[in-house]
């Protein structure tokens, strides 16, 4: 059950520091949402309401923000979020084959999460790594110059 969503003491301290950095409190919205996403795993409605209260802004505004940005998730995602770039330079380098190889290996489609919760597969737009295409981002890390074989080896290492 969802208990009252609340930052840990450490996150609360961090929240204070973040807000203190900005000339206006509302400017801290994205970093505070990151903080919440990190702490709660994803931005549930409860988490959004909590952030809205902390930030003194209407909850609808936070909701609009969360749904606007691709890196903010309102649903739980896998431990490793595989994001394969599908935009032209990567497509020219065979990004579709990379996605197909991952689909085959993990048995999930784009937008799906493996049953064990280990991986979520997404296709994303240009990640500014076109010179080393095809590429993917897994959580914070870039993996570049991929081929069907190397992508399998990378996934094997991600527990």
């Amino acid at each position: 059950m969802m208990n009252a969503v609340k930052f840990s003491d450490e996150s609360l301290k961090r929240f204070g520091e973040i807000v203190g950095r900005y000339p206006k409190k509302e400017a801290a919205m994205l970093p505070v949402l990151y903080l919440a996403q990190r702490e709660f795993g994803y931005l549930s409605c409860e988490a959004i309401e909590y952030v809205a209260r902390l930030m003194d802004v209407p909850v609808a505004r936070v909701y609009g923000v969360v749904t606007f940005y691709t890196m903010l998730n309102m649903k739980p995602i896998g431990r490793h979020h595989i994001q394969v770039c599908r935009t032209l330079p990567c497509a020219l380098a065979g990004a579709e084959r990379i996605t197909a190889a991952i689909k085959a290996k993990l048995g999930v489609g784009v937008g799906e999460t493996t049953a064990d919760g280990r991986f979520t597969l997404s296709e994303v737009e240009c990640l500014a790594s076109c010179g080393t295409a095809p590429m993917m981002q897994v959580n914070d890390d870039y993996y570049e110059n991929l081929n069907e074989q190397s992508v399998g080896e990378i996934l094997d290492k991600l527990k």
């Binding site: 409605c45 959004i48 309401e49 209407p58 909850v59 609808a60 505004r61 909701y63 609009g64 749904t67 606007f68």
Partner: protein, 550 residues
């Protein structure tokens, strides 16, 4: 078309507009629109300058009382020396600026915007309540009139989502102009709605589990230029082109919001706000908007009634009037209670009647606590014409003091006009006991209310929507009520009943209509001496320069 939105300049309760316009001056600026020289002032935008001379530049997202969003792109115009078309809503006028609103380039851009707005639209006009007052329809008829070139699968959105007690949303009809979002951010500051997602998945939404129920919520329906937000109360009742529209004044409270009473087959279908910057700007509160239901619906009295053994039985007016005068005359002391919804004209005659029969008259007045949002529009006083009635001499202290005396048993007979005292929260039971002990009770109302059921004589009257007359709001603005529907046969207007009663007391009285009463009251009451119905017009006039509240 839609030019009504430009009526009067001003801020309309939106503080963001005040700051935006704070550096505007009255410096004159001349610009040229479609070859015509237009005199305007610095700080105005092209769309405002054009509207000022009756040139309506098509638009959706622009609303004079909201901040500029610039998102619909319908108001694109050609401006000399500018390579791209510019949106008229956000282009400040500059001396000598030459604007074209009808050039081929402008018409093509407008047609293109129409086409974009319609590609994911369900084109369900036959079942849409907005049909007939939809800006998509109107502009389409003016500009496009061609078939769709969109041959793809339409994006679907939420249909019939209940946003709140009065508002329902159809996402597929929405053009994302964000008027509703801005209204809730900038006017009510309640922020219920936002735009979620992006691209063509953008849609207007409430936060999950929240509802749109602020006291001004239905204004989002009024400002929605399309059929995305509709009024649940009005939905599917009647096609708007069948509506007869009568300018009038909201009877919901003493703010005196200007309204259009919209009727179909002699029934009130809805209230819509009329723009009056001195009173309600563009807005109307939900309570006022729907007050006509309780004030007008239910089985009407169509004949006077008189109490005989076994109960109230129908009688004729002559008998009833005679019985009232005789009954009140025989059971002094008498108290008269006038409704705060009665007009000045009625109050004027009521005051004379009370004086004539030496009765203690009082007008109905009850105050309430208001929330911050309610304070934007609502008056604490629910009685729309308490101030006017007091001016007419119908009372002065409000009903509460009189109620105390009534409960104490000070009066032997009571004449109640248009108020169901037995139904009052709190004091209802005590008053009922007091009324039951009276020697003689007259109730004048439109229905056989619980109070009327206690009466010895019941006089069938008419409601605000059937009347002509005037209200004076709490700030002293005298405004005109107009009859929107015809009263049932057998009922008489309160002024007619008071006239008959006065005549029966021997008072020489012969008013043909409320205008004549108003002329009489203007002669009698100095504050009103300058006024007549013509002068009141559709927006009323202020009584005195010093605005003072009660």
């Amino acid at each position: 078309m839609h030019g009504y939105e430009f009526h009067v300049p001003g801020s309309g309760l939106n503080p963001k507009l005040e700051t935006r316009n704070c550096d505007t001056h009255m410096d004159p600026v001349k610009i040229i629109i479609d070859g015509r020289e237009v005199a305007t002032t610095k700080g105005k935008t092209v769309i405002q300058a054009a509207a000022g001379v009756g040139i309506a530049i098509p638009h959706y997202c622009y609303h004079p009382k909201l901040t500029i969003a610039g998102n619909c792109r319908m108001c694109l115009v050609e401006i000399e020396k500018m390579p791209k078309l510019q949106i008229a809503c956000n282009t400040p006028v500059m001396e000598g600026m030459a604007v074209k609103t009808q050039s081929p380039k402008v018409l093509e851009a407008r047609r293109a915007v129409m086409e974009f707005l319609l590609i994911n639209h369900p084109l369900d006009c036959p079942i849409c309540d907005q049909a007939g007052e939809c800006w998509l329809q109107d502009y389409y008829m003016q500009h496009d009139l061609t078939g769709s070139r969109f041959d793809e699968k339409k994006e679907h959105d939420r249909k019939r989502e209940i946003f709140g007690p009065y508002v329902v949303f159809d996402g597929e009809r929405c053009i994302k102009c964000t008027r509703c979002v801005r209204f809730l951010q900038e006017v009510t500051h309640t922020d219920e709605l936002t735009v979620v997602n992006r691209g063509d998945h953008s849609t207007i939404a409430l936060f999950p589990e929240k509802i749109l129920d602020n006291p001004l919520s239905v204004n989002v329906v009024d400002i929605c230029p399309v059929g995305a937000l509709t009024d649940r109360d009005f939905r599917f009742k009647v096609r708007v082109w069948y509506l007869k529209k009568t300018p009038s004044i909201c009877p919901g409270c003493s703010t005196g919001c200007n309204i259009s009473v919209e009727t179909y087959q002699n029934r009130i279908a809805r209230f819509k706000p009329r723009i009056n910057e001195e009173v309600n700007s563009h807005w109307l509160c939900d309570e006022g908007r729907y007050c006509f239901h309780s004030l007008t619906e239910g089985e009407r009295l169509t004949a006077p009634m008189i109490r005989q053994e076994g109960g109230l039985v129908p009688t004729d007016w002559e008998t009833a009037v005679q019985a009232v005068i005789a009954g009140l005359g025989a059971a002094a002391p008498v108290a008269g209670v006038l409704s705060g919804r009665n007009t000045n004209e009625e109050a004027f005659l009521f005051a004379r009647l009370m004086k004539k029969i030496s009765a203690a008259g009082e007008v109905f007045y009850r105050e309430r606590e208001l929330t911050e949002v309610e304070k934007l529009l609502k008056s604490p006083d629910r009685s729309p014409n308490f101030r006017g009635a007091c001016d007419m001499g119908a009372g002065g202290g409000g009903f509460d003091a009189l109620a105390g005396r009534l409960i104490e048993g000070e009066f032997r007979s009571v004449y109640i006009v248009g108020e169901d005292l037995v139904d009052l929260p709190g004091d209802g039971d005590k008053i009922k006991n007091a009324l039951e002990k009276l020697s003689f009770l007259v109730v004048q109302d439109i229905r056989l209310t619980p109070t009327a059921k206690l009466a010895h004589v019941v006089l069938p009257s008419t409601h605000f929507g059937e009347k002509e007359g005037s209200y004076t709001n709490r700030r002293g603005r005298v405004q005109k009520l107009n009859p929107a529907v015809v009263p049932p046969l057998g009922a008489l207007h309160d002024w007619e009943i008071f006239s008959r009663l006065l005549a029966k007391t021997g008072e020489k009285i012969s008013f043909a209509n409320p205008a004549e009463i108003f002329a009489a009251l203007a002669r009698a009451i100095p504050a009103y001496s300058e006024f007549n119905y013509d002068k009141l017009g559709d927006h009323g006039i202020q009584l005195d320069t010093q605005r003072h509240d009660h």
